[in-house]
Symmetry: C2
Subunit: 593 residues, 2 copies
């Protein structure tokens, strides 16, 4: 089964479709329709249950439009780019690695020069649009959408955020205060991200405007244990490790063996798997893949991608990384603000303190208009690095802007003393689970869709994500059945279930329509139930709670007759039953024995 089957169903039944179709479409943008929006809400609310309700993390909401300075600090302005080539014949632009991939040439982390040489050398490389073989030189193309904030010449360069994470870093101080200056804590954001992809493709997989859910978990840099790790340590994970070998290990084993960097990272990997199983993602088609050293950012100490097998191959749907102190440190450096925390010692310690004191009367004539800046730099110089031996006997090198300045010994003195110190300031490290909501939705739908030999389509969505939980049908469009069915609909709506009413076409057709959109249960109101052949039923048209309906199960196709007064409770129990995702774990357990 290819993705086309799913895309056609998704459009026809109101899950999602390409945006702006009445104007010919715009690549990289999709709309969620009525059913897709509900599925998306369900996924997001389950995500919130895990992170906000259960972990107690703080949800925040920050703007997407971001001033340039933020991305100067974060490194996105300099580095958030893909190599782009233009076909010399048709003029179209492509991602260089895509062009090479289509010719079967593997590239990873190559420079523009290397890619340029490959494009020239490899005979099979051709333009995906016009099949020409000649390309211009590859150039980095920054993927951020730019805009101007403010009117006229007062406008400031800004960008649409390519991820939601920066909001949590920029607000670290306020969040730490909200948590009463204690670590660890987490902050989360659900929202849109924007990347001006050179060649968007594959429906929901590479969008220019997409939905994310990100958590930034702030932990002590020297203690990444996690209190509740104990609860999850026996969960079995399928792990494709850095060494290229696939393992089946418990989270506890993975941490003990040193395969996973720490408990906090491992904890969120397990909780992600729990959540994905609840979404109905197929355990047979899901694994965590560890980043190789050469693909990991230099500041990250460990990174695992959750990958799902789809008709488009294995796709990354979540990334969970230990980012160290990179992000906070970058903003500390650029903003000069204290994005750190104070760790109080159990009792005050005596510590040898060394401070550089500038000698202003020497600095003044020596550095003139720069003297003040030099003095400030000297004061914040880390004097512990100075060996006591050569104290005051060497030039100190300080940095002002982009220039290094050498300060001779006569311009400063080093003061040393024993001081009582009550604690120290540390920059927290960050564990970041980052979810691609659209890719998760695509995977959920692909893993749920079953097509019979006769072409009959069933979307086996789990009850927690199904956009419609219960459909209500009158057996035929007769008045007495219709009004009773409407009563039942209202009853279930008030009980807070996601319901739909349908009286169009044969009952078989209606079942088929509901199977196709993943509705777990259909309730049919028929004469047998309404005319009261059950015990205390009434035949005079009065409503009676002893009247009954049938519940039809999507997957077993079994029908059960239930009195209307027990319907809501029965359905609630059905809907609560967790999906059977234990198959893989059981198989694994058996294998291990």
């Amino acid at each position: 089964m290819g993705a086309d089957d799913l895309l056609s169903l998704a459009k026809r039944r109101g899950f999602f479709w390409p945006s702006y179709e009445i104007y010919g479409g715009t690549a990289g943008f999709y709309d969620y329709g009525p059913l897709g929006s509900r599925l998306k809400s369900n996924v997001e609310n389950i995500w919130r249950r895990y992170y906000v309700q259960e972990e107690g993390f703080f949800e925040i909401n920050c703007p997407a439009i971001t001033p340039e300075v933020v991305f100067e600090a974060s490194g996105h302005l300099a580095e958030f780019s893909d190599l782009m080539v233009q076909c010399k014949k048709c003029g179209q632009f492509f991602r260089a690695d895509h062009v090479l991939e289509e010719a079967g040439v593997e590239v990873s982390a190559a420079t523009a020069e290397v890619v340029g040489r490959l494009l020239l050398k490899e005979a099979g490389v051709k333009c995906p649009n016009c099949s020409n073989h000649q390309f211009g030189p590859p150039q980095p193309f920054n993927l951020m959408f730019g805009t101007m904030t403010g009117p006229g010449s007062a406008g400031r360069k800004s960008y649409m955020r390519p991820e939601t994470a920066q909001g949590m870093f920029l607000n670290f101080q306020a969040l730490l205060r909200h948590n009463r200056e204690r670590l660890p804590f987490g902050a989360v954001q659900l929202g849109r991200g924007y990347r001006n992809e050179i060649s968007p493709r594959q429906a929901l997989i590479r969008l220019r405007e997409f939905n994310m859910a990100e958590a930034e978990v702030f932990v002590h840099p020297e203690d990444k244990s996690w209190p509740r790790f104990e609860k999850v340590k026996d969960t079995v994970l399928r792990l494709l490790a850095q060494d290229g070998v696939e393992y089946k290990l418990t989270a506890g084993e993975a941490v003990e063996k040193g395969m996973m960097a720490n408990q906090a990272l491992a904890y969120f990997i397990v909780r992600t798997q729990d959540m994905f199983y609840e979404f109905g993602i197929d355990p047979e088609k899901f694994k965590f893949r560890q980043h190789r050293k050469d693909e990991m950012a230099h500041y990250a100490s460990d990174c695992w991608d959750g990958e799902a097998l789809t008709s488009l191959g294995w796709i990354e749907i979540v990334g969970i990384a230990d980012r160290g102190c990179f992000d906070l440190s970058a903003h500390i450096e650029r903003s000069g603000q204290d994005l750190d925390f104070f760790e109080a010692y159990d009792k005050p310690r005596e510590e040898q303190i060394a401070e550089v004191k500038p000698i202003h009367k020497v600095l003044g004539p020596m550095f003139r208009e720069k003297a003040k800046a030099v003095a400030q730099a000297l004061e914040s110089f880390d004097a512990t690095e100075l060996n006591t031996e050569d104290n005051n006997e060497k030039n100190l090198t300080i940095t002002l802007g982009n220039t290094e300045i050498s300060v001779p010994p006569e311009a400063y003195t080093v003061v040393r003393e024993l001081r009582k110190v009550s604690g120290r300031r540390l920059v927290p490290h960050v564990i970041e689970p980052s979810y691609g909501i659209d890719r998760i939705i695509f995977t959920i739908l692909e893993h749920a869709l079953e097509t019979g030999d006769d072409g009959y389509k069933t979307l086996k969505l789990t009850a927690p994500v199904a956009p419609i939980q219960v459909a209500i049908f009158p057996l035929i469009g007769k008045n007495v059945l219709v009004s009773k069915a409407r009563e039942v609909e209202e009853l279930l709506r008030v009980a807070n279930m996601a319901v739909a009413y349908d009286d169009g076409g044969s009952i078989g057709r209606r079942y088929a329509r509901m199977d196709e959109v993943g509705t777990p249960y259909c309730v049919t109101v028929d004469f047998e139930g309404v005319e009261g052949r059950t015990e205390q039923g009434s035949k005079n048209g009065e409503s009676s709670l002893a009247e009954s309906v049938t519940i039809r199960d999507r997957d077993s196709k079994k029908q059960t007759r239930v009195p209307i007064n027990e319907l809501a409770t029965t359905l609630k129990n059905y809907l609560k039953t967790p999906p059977d995702t234990s198959g893989w774990e059981k198989a694994t357990a058996a294998e291990k024995e």
Copy 2:
């Protein structure tokens, strides 16, 4: 009480604060913190209950980045602008009407020339920044944030949506199909809108990136009755009508008198009021104001703004308008797509059909390369307009792009015949309730905040919107009380309440903290309850369901002792009790008698 009081509390306690403060801030952007985000979720979920759960409207999610053609069609590109002036001295830009307003000069719907003359003439007019009196000429400044979609020279001009409404219009066909080709139905979208305000100000009131909730209700152009209007027609509304007079009328009376255009419009005005009362918006500080003819868009037939009185004056927090067929017609014209619906007659009718047929052999030599386009234009010419008398005896004027072309009688013929017609195609009309979520949140907080003479602050949020519904305190930080309090916390969390735990500082201080963030109930675990002075309590440290806690009511300050095994049920009942918003209605009823 000014807005400053609220803004300081909002920042200190994690509701909202200006974005990008570590980099000096960027005007017009705000972050929602942990409590503000919960309040926002509550508001949005209640909105969804009204529109999606109760009305059964379709929620969709469309991108914010929008190709230019959409706003060419909608008119935003040409007309979505404010008049901007630049101070000749300091160079800053301002909204011309703001500069005039501050000098006490009223302007509404004035042209650039009129405003320019006012700026010169009025002596009191000065630059809000440097108090200079000289300005450059006022110029329209389009408020849409622009960007480019796609790489390099292949980039297409795009804009961030200034409202969410276009998504519903562009998808009308798909939505109509989803509703099985029947009217009326509604589609809604919650999400962000973007306006590059010339001078953003007033915290959440005029943001450059803001949150909206919009419904587009598609109705039959000749039948705007609303099935459930009967249910709401007796609700009393406070209406400042077009004639400048304030009325207190029921919705039924307002429609009957012709003050409100139709039932559908009136229905959503009532439901909006119901929702706002549930939010805790003060009935004494809220009214609906009808647009004057000169402020209403030419295509709108009626428009009412819901206005709330705040420390910043009366502000619009919702607008409810009958937009006619303007939006769909604009996109029909630009896209050539059929954004209309088919109304089947009860039985087929015989109708006189007139069609213009082009005579190609005449058109060819006459219009050459334009002949085909002229022929097409003739075929879609509305021939019913042609009088039978002068049939084929006059020039027809057609429009190709921007040029009008006159076609002589020898180039076409008019065919008339009687045909059986089974129905007709009509463009629906649209009722649009459009909510500013940030302004609503600001109003909720302002109306809820009470400051005592001693400076004691209580945020009297209603239970449905309160970010924390129940706080749990151990009376003192002793082990037995702490562990019991944690148990109670878990109990209520599982019962799906929004809970917080606090054991820091005196109990009075903790009450004060919770009063300040609007928590309706505080539960205290004390020795009296835990050591089991109640009937079946145990003294040996074992947990017992007969143990008790106190519930403290934020507003009455009354405390009630409740057994732990009844706590969840008791609290759920408390939380469900609707807020007392009947004061104004009662007062109104009394006045009317």
